[in-house]
Point group: D2
Chain length 388, copies 4
């Protein structure tokens, strides 16, 4: 990987031209809102389905953000989602729906375009990193292997995914605690997830008004699986080798290599909240005796992920805001927190009578849980020279 580029270097360079796929959807709208004020990234192209293609973006979109649509993007002509139409982009963000993301994202990578995807399709791919930017940007190290295994090998194109919104929110304090106190042995997480996590039209109002739905299809499996990929290291594969016979790198899902096994049990609920996933977490450390609630509070509060020290412009001012008040955080008051939705808020850190420690974590599922993560991942890649 190339030598480090400082933020100053970047801002003195000419701007980075980016594209957005799935631009009219919920996540796409969020990408555009965030990119409109980005110091480096300039929206060069917007892609959507055939129905929108050829229209001005402001006419193609049913804008559902509380911040009015403005800026240059509003008057861009929407393109189809083909690599040819995005040739001038240096990198592309994908807010595509899962039913189309697979083929389109593959084509973009094959066309040598770096792609930062919020879709779930490649999250389980053994050569695609699943990166929560406040946790495991080190997993970018698998990119050269991803490129070399492609046929033909790629010089620039790759796919990086970010995690499911409910995984992202709670894995950040987990990472902070593992950094401070060593491996976690088991985690029980019960989520209360906002409706915006399901996109638009998403959850019918008759299902959720004054109600709780104790089920979100596939969500529990995603949390249980993604946590292992994100918190696991990268290790040598036991079976696979490259053409030179060297072992391939692989994600240490079963913790065969470095860390001891981690067990995760998730229960997911939908609640009538617009934005903000609340998660009640109980966990047990390997280390005996476990840290005290006060030690946990301090470790969370001082956690400083690499993207902050590196100077990614979209990184939160504070990665984890720790509340002392007994009834906070709450979605309506705290979803943006002091971190503008790019970090998470933790409260109610206390002893668990069954495992060691329990707390609640609140994350902004449409910011750090979605588009903001893709954007920080891209900032990291630019600063590290992975995208040029």
């Amino acid at each position: 990987m190339s030598s480090k580029i400082t933020p100053n270097t970047v801002s003195s360079l000419k701007k980075v031209r980016v594209g957005v796929l799935g631009a009219t959807g919920t996540v796409g709208q969020r990408f555009i809102t965030l990119l409109s004020e980005h110091p480096w990234f300039i929206i060069e192209a917007l892609g959507a389905s055939e129905r929108s293609k050829g229209k001005k973006y402001r006419e193609a979109v049913k804008w559902k953000q509380t911040i009015p649509l403005g800026g240059l993007a509003a008057d861009l002509i929407v393109k189809g989602c083909t690599p040819e139409e995005f040739k001038t982009c240096q990198l592309v963000f994908s807010g595509l729906d899962a039913d189309v993301a697979g083929d389109i994202e593959y084509a973009f990578r094959a066309a040598n375009i770096p792609l930062f995807s919020n879709a779930k399709n490649y999250r389980r791919d053994p050569h695609v990193p699943l990166i929560v930017p406040l946790v495991n940007p080190s997993h970018f190290s698998i990119i050269p292997q991803q490129q070399s295994l492609h046929s033909p090998p790629l010089s620039k194109g790759f796919i990086v995914t970010n995690a499911n919104c409910s995984t992202t929110g709670y894995v950040i304090p987990l990472a902070a605690l593992e950094k401070a106190f060593g491996p976690i042995e088991s985690v029980l997480v019960t989520t209360m997830q906002a409706i915006s996590g399901a996109g638009y039209p998403g959850v019918p109002s008759l299902d959720i008004l004054g109600n709780v739905v104790p089920y979100i299809g596939g969500e529990e499996e995603k949390i249980e699986w993604e946590t292992l990929k994100i918190l696991g290291g990268i290790t040598d594969s036991e079976n696979e080798t490259d053409k030179n016979g060297a072992p391939l790198k692989t994600f240490d899902m079963h913790q065969a290599g470095g860390r001891p096994a981690l067990r995760v049990s998730a229960s997911c609920n939908r609640v009538p909240v617009v934005d903000g996933h609340m998660e009640c977490v109980s966990l047990r450390f390997h280390r005996r005796p476990p840290p005290s609630p006060q030690q946990v509070r301090e470790a969370l509060s001082v956690f400083t992920p690499e993207i902050q020290s590196l100077g990614c412009p979209s990184s939160p001012r504070k990665a984890i805001e720790v509340f002392e008040e007994p009834d906070r955080p709450q979605p309506r008051l705290d979803v943006k927190g002091t971190h503008n939705g790019a970090g998470v808020s933790v409260g109610r850190v206390r002893q668990c009578q069954v495992l060691d420690i329990k707390f609640v974590v609140l994350s902004d599922n449409v910011s750090i849980g979605a588009a903001t993560s893709s954007i920080i991942n891209a900032e990291y890649a630019v600063l590290k020279g992975i995208v040029s």
Copy 2:
């Protein structure tokens, strides 16, 4: 205790005259709604605060039930909460607020009036049983001791409490599982509780509309503590004796006697739901290997508490309704279930990656979670001859 009275005996007797304390409050209104259609109990007297005393009930109350106020109770003159004014009642229900319940309930017992209380004040009293009628009516056996220890000893008066609404809901499936598979070792429960659980005016709308509050004062401690008292047996005290030197009976909170220790960890949340507490439960059995999800489903479904076989008229047709649909139960659709709010609904029974089994349980916090439990307790006491 007297010989068993059958339902037939009861219905051939003259009706049972009952009183309601705290009649204008939320729980009081619920008592009156339920008692208005009761086959045995006749509302004889209603008690409330000075502000309401002397008014017709229909004028004193701000009626907040979806069932219109009607029947004989509407025209009763509200009395003060003194035993003298309830002399003609054979038993009294208390929906009093905790800030006044202590003294008033004490006075009623001292006046030899059997009292079934929904208030929390005497739940922790070592001689007062805390009875979830679908779980531990056997704890009525402590009543003679409660009466004999009173000074002077009581011939008829006693206090029986029912449990906190969130405890009641989840302890019913726990009891069913212990009956089928032996002791549970540990339980983690995360609640999503309805606003009606906080009474009226209760939760300010600015706190809960489109929001989740991850805290309910004292609630987690109540669940953790009450579960031990309810699921524990009654054993001989190690220290206390009666005047004859015989050991007093005491609740086996620490499971020193019969059952192995049980650890409970609760996380309580308020959600914008009107009626119906949802609780996500994970638990571990002592028994190895643990039962399968299918065995758990069957054990829950066949659970028949004593109050059902005894024929208490307010007992649910089915104690535990087990849902197979992946997204049920839900408060809005299922809070009344097939049990009319007097039982509970369980769904999503599946393996837990950390403990053994997880599921959700939904209970009607204003029915089985409050007034209905008091009423079934009273029915049980009448059928067993504890009240005459």
Copy 3:
């Protein structure tokens, strides 16, 4: 029309076999819930789309009612929506979506099957009555003309529609007031409509949670137009004649005949309420001086529609419940009222500074606003011998 059949006559006859079209949809589910307990009507056949055809109803439907699905209907095999499959039905209810109702309902009538439709397709047809059963069942008198104009003329088939839910609710007090005080000159109505009025999936939760949407497509036009058809009489057409040269009967939309002109202005809003349309009504009478608020209250309270005196089994115990409390009716507490959703509730009757009188009216949009109206219309037709 044939001689009157009394309720006693009906109940001594064999039951009436009925079918339901659109059985899996929201309105269809409501039809089935109501018909399952109906004293006369026996569900003989259920029709739905190709996707459901051939399945047992309980497997075809995603049941969304708070009353559990039970009874005979649950095990019926769903049919396609063709008249051949409903030959044995004496009458059919339609809860079809508007995009398919036009052709299917036409075919049923052509096959000589009486059809009671909740769909909007034939509401504006000049020979199809638009009947709010508590207001204008006299419009059934147009049925013979509808049958005779069909080619070939029909002996039994016809189409009767009921009105849009928001029209139905507020037109009932209007009719009561016109009956008591003569014609109304102008009405301003502002609605706050429940989400269940939009069916399922209907309103996306992101659009309505904690929000008000000041627009419901086509709704204001429906209210303004339907009110004229319902409250207008039936008069001789000026232009159209039958084959004998006699003038055709027509709906007096422009009040050219009997009554003075009525002007209606509607403003429609969607609010986050599950069931129950609230409508704020201001109106001006022709008569000077206008009646006082107290006179209005009394006139509303004593209103007894023909369907009540005739003895339709689904008619409300009270057509209009008048509240004296300043803050009632409210959807959550009063949607069922004392009329079980088959009547309406009126409150806050007071003077209007601009027109004469203002009040609020609450109606159960899924009962009297939809299926219940179709069913009462059918009961009326049976009692009057229009269906045999």
Copy 4:
């Protein structure tokens, strides 16, 4: 009144020291949020009840704003609400509750402190102006009379009130239309008001979750009365004279003087929305023929109140934002609009079948509907030299 001071003059002067009464309440918190970023006003003193007195503000307040409490105000020691403790303030804002505002505000005026009040107590006072800053700042002209009638006459102290939140929102488009098309003859307004309008704890959640309450105590009278005072001019009193025998100025409530009579009819509802009052307005002009909807749209869109041209720093960028989309504005998406809550949003301008024109207006009840209005009024007074 003194010669005009330009914004430049002001900003070159030393800052204006202000106080806030009722600082811990909902409106008080809003004052502090807005003043913390104000270019001129420096918070010098905070006053609250005895319970809070002597504590640091951050400890006395239960902060309920989505913007975190920060800045200098957080560490101020809360004072009692006596003029002595606010001596160093050049003007004071009052967010006091009505039950205490009467005496306290009187005392502040008597102590020669200019007071800008959000409370209702002095709104009907014949010498106190009721000023919606986008509508009638010209009513400041009554201040010298208010000061001279005080005993003893005041050199600096006065009381200015702003209007009720629901009046403020809809009177702004009314003023714009009267400016363009002459007097309005009659207005019917139906409100759907947010819970934040009732303060904290305010509306109990059991009353409003999934519900509409068709009543807000005193609100309809306020709208009907305040509109007349705000839109009326100032005229000579027929009866009252000053000590020199010159007629006193009075508010032209009955339009005896200049303008023709205006009739207002209001119907007020509470809906489950956090922030943003929606109001459905129908009105009739005196002028015949009335303007077309398109003319109305244009007149609203170009409306520029004096406070904008004068340069009040808190004035909205656009006073009235006019939406063309059929389903906007909506509280959740548009409450802040392009005017940051200091203007209003209008949509659905169309013909009314009964009066002339109808439309919806959305206003941010906690901004322009409350604290923001007081602050703009104070800015106006500073710029005009009324406060020095």
